[in-house]
């Protein structure tokens, strides 16, 4: 189905990443947001607060991130598409509710505009240091989806993708921006509503007596339902059976938790979003994402000018990690160079997927700025030797 025209600001705009992300939520059909102010992410909901009353929906500023991250889930079960926005410390506070959304299979979107940490860290400066927290931050085993835009245009486009994936797989989807991408202003083209594909919520057509709220379909994803439709359903964060009833035993736990992981397998295998260049003849592949991928682009250019066969693998979907693609590349390249605005996070995934077949060289940066392209180039040159 196509986007509801009411939310789509078709045209050519000059927007920063945060504002473009907000337009993405509206185009995707989000009509509810709950937020709590935190630099450098607040612009997303500031724009939403200004725009939503003319589109038809609600923004509510909550008392903290704990409240914002669960209010959106109440709204989803009330029938809305919903999201919240935060950064570092707020993201930490939201972890329990990311777990709740995973466990209750509540489709929703969390936007994290990453800044330097730990703790209050660097409120106004970039980092990419929440990538592992995005994957593992809530307790227990689970699967998650995380996307990393590297431009305001992608902040718009991928936000729509995020909402679509949330509905398709019934998981919380994390938009992992960074302060640079969030505050970078560029041209953003918002297409006609008819050119924007939207995944509608898959509400069950079954009658209440034949419906179990957590009975998975063939794709391992249960059909959705909403309050007020007469289903009298129950959801809980406790381990639960197909009826949604708490059930504390090994068998139910195993069945549920494995399914929560397994339902995302199609995304790890083949469907993983990424952008590649010059991989056919590459000796060295630079794996990067977010703002770092734009610095890496310059380093790749310089390397090619030096005659080094360097290729680009830009991670767009960080989680599930595109491990099959990396494993396949590892069999035919000398090395991977992995620059990140952290002291080494996604590089561990690259190492795991490469499984010793190719060298993996981190180019770390503690955050607060971006890499100098020369630092990445140096690593490429070393790797190519």
């Amino acid at each position: 189905m196509h986007a509801d025209p009411k939310g789509v600001l078709t045209g050519v705009h000059f927007l920063d990443g945060d504002h473009a992300c907000c337009e993405g939520t509206l185009a995707a059909g989000a009509r509810f947001s709950a937020g709590y102010p935190i630099t450098p992410s607040t612009e997303v909901v500031e724009r939403f607060a200004a725009r939503i009353p003319t589109v038809g929906g609600v923004f509510v500023q909550m008392e903290d991130e704990l409240a914002a991250s669960i209010a959106i889930q109440g709204a989803v079960w009330g029938g809305a598409k919903a999201f919240t926005v935060t950064s570092g410390p707020g993201f930490s506070l939201m972890m329990e509710h990311i777990g709740y959304a995973v466990m209750t299979e509540t489709p929703c979107v969390f936007v994290n505009v990453q800044r330097g940490g730990p703790s209050t860290g660097l409120p106004t400066l970039p980092a990419q240091a929440d990538m592992m927290q995005a994957r593992w931050g809530s307790h227990g085993d689970y699967g998650i989806i995380a996307l990393c835009p590297n431009s305001p245009q992608e902040c718009f486009d991928l936000t729509i993708t995020a909402f679509n994936l949330a509905e398709e797989f019934r998981v919380p989807v994390l938009m992992m921006l960074d302060e640079c991408v969030g505050h970078m202003t560029e041209k953003v083209i918002i297409p006609e509503p008819g050119q924007i594909e939207i995944t509608p919520r898959h509400l069950t057509q079954r009658p209440p007596e034949a419906f179990h709220v957590f009975e998975p379909g063939e794709n391992l994803v249960p059909e959705m339902v909403q309050a007020g439709d007469g289903y009298r359903f129950h959801i809980t964060g406790l381990t639960h059976d197909e009826r949604g009833y708490p059930s504390m035993n090994v068998e139910v736990q195993d069945r549920l938790v494995r399914r929560l992981q397994d339902k995302l397998k199609p995304l790890a295998n083949g469907r993983a979003l990424c952008e590649t260049e010059h991989l056919d003849d590459a000796d060295v592949v630079v794996v990067s994402y977010g703002i770092t991928s734009r610095v890496a682009q310059r380093a790749l250019q310089l390397a090619r000018q030096k005659g080094i066969r360097a290729g680009k693998f830009r991670i767009i979907q960080a989680w599930p990690f595109p491990e099959e693609r990396i494993r396949e590349l590892a069999g035919r390249v000398k090395a991977f160079v992995v620059p990140e605005l952290n002291l080494g996070q996604m590089v561990h995934e690259v190492e795991r997927a490469a499984a010793g077949q190719a060298k993996v060289i981190p180019v770390s940066h503690a955050g607060g700025g971006v890499h100098n392209p020369e630092a990445i180039l140096k690593a490429i040159v070393e790797a190519a030797k």
Partner: protein, 296 residues
């Protein structure tokens, strides 16, 4: 056991009136003998009946704890959320679909310690939620630790020498934060409690009912206060109905007088009304009413 059942003539179609409101396939429930939570559920069911609520449009939201299990037993759209967060979840649910009557049913630890901030803010906003707090004066599910409601001198699992920190007076807190309706009953006052619950189901705005309830296993046992029935008798003897009493005079003590009644019943515009008024004023024709269920 048939010797007990057949003394009286029982019509064949006789049925416990609570059963259609409960998930009977989940009985027996987890609550201890002499716990009062089930009693409050009886009153809630009577209130649903008397208020003529459309049950397909009543949603119940609970946090974590013994009372947090109420949502799981109610045959309604029901949400067992995370510890302390029933109110913000309910806020999102209500705002996304204002046609829903959203009831928050949870315990004193959940609503006033870990969830205390959400309570005062929802009351401040006058969010149209009906909050029922079963107050057993302790964290029962986790083993009887000190709650923000535990009266002084009580022995708890985490205050083995007696609680010395002051407790919240929940009705005073609710009034000060802005609740439109504030009442307190005990599980002894079943008819009054059912009436209060019925009233709030027909009242707009943030409504709060505190219900004192026995906890023989985790609270009373440590304090040599007897069983559930002993506490019910204490409620009967020590309670004084004082409608409209200043909530500041209604603090609870370990074994003193319990002031019960309806303390506050006032009309304030609720959150959605305030939002609509403000946005109409500022945006005029450009204002678009939120769609009850958003176009998916």
């Amino acid at each position: 056991m048939s010797e007990f059942e057949c003394v009286m003539e029982i019509p064949e179609d006789a049925r416990n009136p609570v059963e259609p409101f409960l998930r009977m396939d989940r009985m027996p429930h987890i609550w201890c003998p002499g716990c009062g939570i089930g009693t409050t559920v009886n009153c809630f069911v009577r209130a649903l009946l008397s208020s003529k609520s459309d049950l397909d449009h009543v949603a119940i939201v609970s946090g974590i704890g013994c009372t947090g299990r109420v949502a799981g037993y109610a045959n309604l759209d029901s949400f067992h959320t995370t510890h302390g967060r029933a109110i913000p979840f309910a806020t999102g649910l209500k705002l996304a679909n204002p046609k829903l009557q959203v009831v928050v049913y949870s315990g004193d630890g959940d609503l006033f310690a870990i969830g205390g901030n959400h309570f005062i803010h929802a009351a401040r906003r006058n969010m149209d939620l009906k909050v029922i707090c079963v107050n057993n004066l302790t964290y029962a599910m986790t083993g009887g630790q000190t709650a923000p409601t535990t009266p002084g001198q009580v022995i708890s699992a985490t205050a083995p020498y007696g609680v010395f920190e002051p407790a919240f007076n929940l009705v005073q807190l609710a009034e000060a934060a802005g609740a439109a309706y504030v009442a307190r009953w005990t599980t002894y006052h079943v008819t009054q409690l059912a009436r209060s619950m019925g009233e709030v189901l027909n009242k707009k705005g943030f409504c709060f009912i505190e219900v004192l309830s026995p906890c023989p296993t985790l609270y009373q046992r440590r304090n040599k206060m007897g069983d559930g029935l002993d506490t019910m008798k204490y409620y009967k003897e020590a309670s004084k109905i004082r409608h409209g009493a200043p909530t500041g005079e209604c603090a609870l003590t370990k074994s003193g007088e319990i002031v019960v009644g309806k303390f506050v019943d006032r009309d304030r515009p609720d959150y959605l009304e305030l939002m609509r008024t403000q946005l109409h004023e500022s945006l005029g024709e450009r204002y678009a009413e939120p769609e009850a269920v958003c176009g998916l």
